[in-house]
Subunit: 470 residues, 2 copies
């Protein structure tokens, strides 16, 4: 009976402590409301990363000191910070959220009305998958290769892909370092989900494909941006990257050839960034999905380095024009691949088996890859040439499938511009704002014919003459 009383006593104490926690939460929220007031009067932004970062790190230290779960404290901290932001934002007007899908949707509407639209907005090559890939996939479907398979991908494909990459990069990739995913996006997701935790920070070099920031935010991870400029040929400054690293930084995303700029980083700078990552014990998430669309020497790859924290993301979408097949893959340490396989297995079981047979065939078609790269190069040249005739500044891409010119009009709002251009000239393209703080820029996709690209850019020129004083 004494034991039972002791138990009751302890429970009462727990309750008192818990109530006290809630009261302190109340007090905290009160203070937060007053801070919001004070910030408003000072004209300071609502979210201050520096402050949040400090709070996180102090609370985390305290948790460690007390020997309680840092994970628990991190989660509770996140909930408190989220609530604070919510409280402070009540009353603010929402930010304008636009993606190139909004342009895509409007372009489709215009087409449905019978208009001829020059489509330069989507990052999808028009080249399509080679007939051999379609044939192999169709054959596998008919043979009934449509059972559950290994979460990492069928053994045959992983083995062949490992050999393919090993040859291509003169390195040793093993099957155990590979996992097949439903598209490159999911490859990014699995990578971030297995390397980052809520409250972590990730460095992203802008302008960048929106997926990196979106996916990070989806996971409660904070994107920290390093900007690059057309004046510096879109080259990231390694010192600026180093400056953004904090206790909370866990990873850096690299994407060369770059979407949207077409920049291919030089090996020296690439190396420098990898060294910085190493020194700070960061993961490097290298999205090399455009690697095969390179117009001069072969772009640098993390595969050239043997480091368990370097992760390469790629896909079959661009190299073989297999966008709608939805197959991406990650090259990473065996340990990380196993972690990813658990999530892949839980969320999607596997990439459809018959599609993997299509991928097997693709790996034999190096000629297609070269041919597609040649086409992209010609289109890029055409785009850059035509851009020289309109008021635009462009860095000539060394790879990728986009050009990212600045439109030389003061104070251009790329979103308004893109929508108005679409209405008036029936040219669809992606506003620069989608990729970061680049309101004067537009992204032109090379996924269309050379003729369309020329015509589209000429129409931009016409639009500017008619509508804007340059």
């Amino acid at each position: 009976m004494a034991k039972a009383e002791e138990l009751q006593g302890l429970r009462d104490e727990v309750e008192q402590v818990s109530l006290e926690i809630v009261r302190l939460l109340g007090k905290r929220m009160e203070l937060v409301a007053r801070i919001a007031e004070a910030k408003k009067k000072l004209g300071e932004p609502l979210v201050d990363f520096e402050v949040e970062r400090r709070v996180r790190s102090r609370l985390s230290d305290e948790a460690r000191k007390l020997g309680i779960s840092e994970e628990l404290v991190n989660k509770i901290t996140t909930l408190m910070l989220q609530e604070s932001v919510k409280l402070q934002e009540a009353g603010e007007k929402p930010k304008r959220q636009v993606s190139h899908f909004d342009i895509f949707r409007r372009a489709r509407e215009l087409e449905a009305e019978g208009k001829r639209v020059v489509r330069l907005e989507v990052g999808e090559p028009d080249l399509g998958a080679p007939g051999e890939v379609a044939g192999a996939t169709a054959e596998a479907v008919k043979q009934g290769r449509s059972r559950y398979s290994d979460a990492k991908g069928i053994a045959e494909l992983r083995k062949k892909l490992a050999e393919y990459l090993s040859n291509k990069y003169n390195t040793e990739v093993k099957a155990e370092n590979l996992i097949l995913t439903p598209g490159g996006r999911f490859a990014i997701y699995l990578t971030m989900r297995t390397t980052l935790n809520m409250g972590d920070e990730i460095i992203i070099i802008d302008p960048s494909w929106p997926m990196y920031k979106n996916c990070a935010e989806f996971l409660g991870v904070r994107p920290v941006v390093v900007n690059t400029s057309v004046e510096n040929g879109w080259l990231p400054n390694a010192d600026e990257v180093a400056e953004k690293i904090t206790q909370a930084t866990r990873a850096i995303v690299l994407n060369y050839p770059c979407n949207p700029t077409g920049k291919v980083i030089d090996r020296r700078t690439f190396r420098k960034l990898l060294d910085i990552a190493r020194e700070n014990n960061l993961y490097v998430i290298s999205d090399e999905v455009y690697a095969d669309y390179s117009f001069s020497e072969y772009p640098p790859s993390v595969l050239e380095y043997d480091d368990a924290n370097f992760i390469r993301v790629s896909s079959f979408s661009k190299s073989w024009g297999m966008t709608g097949y939805r197959v991406g893959y990650v090259t990473a340490s065996r340990e990380l691949v196993e972690k990813m396989a658990k999530i892949n297995g839980m969320l999607i079981t596997c990439v459809p088996e018959f599609i993997q047979y299509g991928c097997l065939k693709a790996l034999e078609l190096e000629e297609t890859v070269r041919r597609y790269a040649e086409i992209m190069k010609k289109r890029m040249e055409a785009a850059v040439n035509t851009l020289s005739k309109i008021p635009a500044t462009v860095h000539k891409p060394e790879g990728g499938m986009y050009v990212f010119p600045r439109i030389n009009v003061d104070g251009l709002d790329s979103i308004d511009f893109a929508f108005d251009l679409l209405e008036k000239k029936h040219v669809a393209l992606a506003p620069g704002t989608v990729f970061g703080d680049y309101s004067n820029y537009i992204r032109i996709s090379l996924g269309a014919s050379e003729e369309d690209i020329r015509r589209g850019i000429e129409l931009i020129g016409e639009y500017l003459q008619e509508n804007v004083k340059t």
Copy 2:
């Protein structure tokens, strides 16, 4: 400047309060450890739902009194309770984590050694996709239907699926209520991701497909289990469900026909559960993936009710044997579908376009669905008949593709049993423990031939005679 100082002062206060919260968390964890000790001495169970509920309600009252977000307090309470359970379990011997994939893997190894293994462990029908579906998919691949498509699925398929469901359930499902996903698992994930938040609770009726708990935990959501028993024909007790609802409960998962029990809930009890959900403003996630495998009347469906909080999950995997095609879908309110589409688009872009043409064809093949259900019924009968000859108790399934007998051996450890049976008799099946606290049970899949099912169960009988005193 005074304002800036005031701001700094407030920030310091917030930090102090936050630190105090962490310290109290530390104190709480200390007390919890002592409670665990006391409970152990008294032989009390670690999780006491009554106590938890009292804690919750006190804290929630306090939040209301203080005018702070009850939701925030509920979430933090859940995290604290979860941590408490984890702490208390730390001294216990760790639960064995086994999935039927471990059995699957070992079975494959034995097969690779040349052994003939009776495979009754995997939830995959051996029937395969109909030739027409394979044909339509192959044709679509060859026609180059492999471009990015709508994140929700191609318009044609959503329209036809809406008609199909509307007819089947005598209701009105619109295309806007549907989203196609890469498999039923991803349909569950999208549903949970868009309806639940970290710190929420979800009610799951055991025995259950492990995905529900795994996915909930993956999202930081706490699964709260309601058990059912073979003695009560696996019927959930509505009162027991109601008792588990707390302020943190957001959803309940229903899965009829049930994996693993084959139970089909009667319409009255189904209705009762939906009413409880409605009264408590809970989402109902109804996984009706086995709906077409029903052996008597058609199973009840949330589609029969018009409620924005009722969500139906299904797939093409079972009804048409299209497992490896990886296509699932969710029927939900337009608002939820839009939320899911955002995530689908971000993580996978879309289900491969050509596969969706295979699905379009499948919807014309009602005859296949009926034939497959007939086959499952015959297999189920064979399984139940054969089980009557060994020391087992089984509820005769009204649907689904499994039987879930209790092996009448005192203190059976279903994991040891499953592995030993596989080694000695080369019969692969899923241990009951995988599906909840059902150590005396095994799950036999009807995805194999009638002959294999009979033979497998006979071999279980032989094993029991040779190895166990029953």
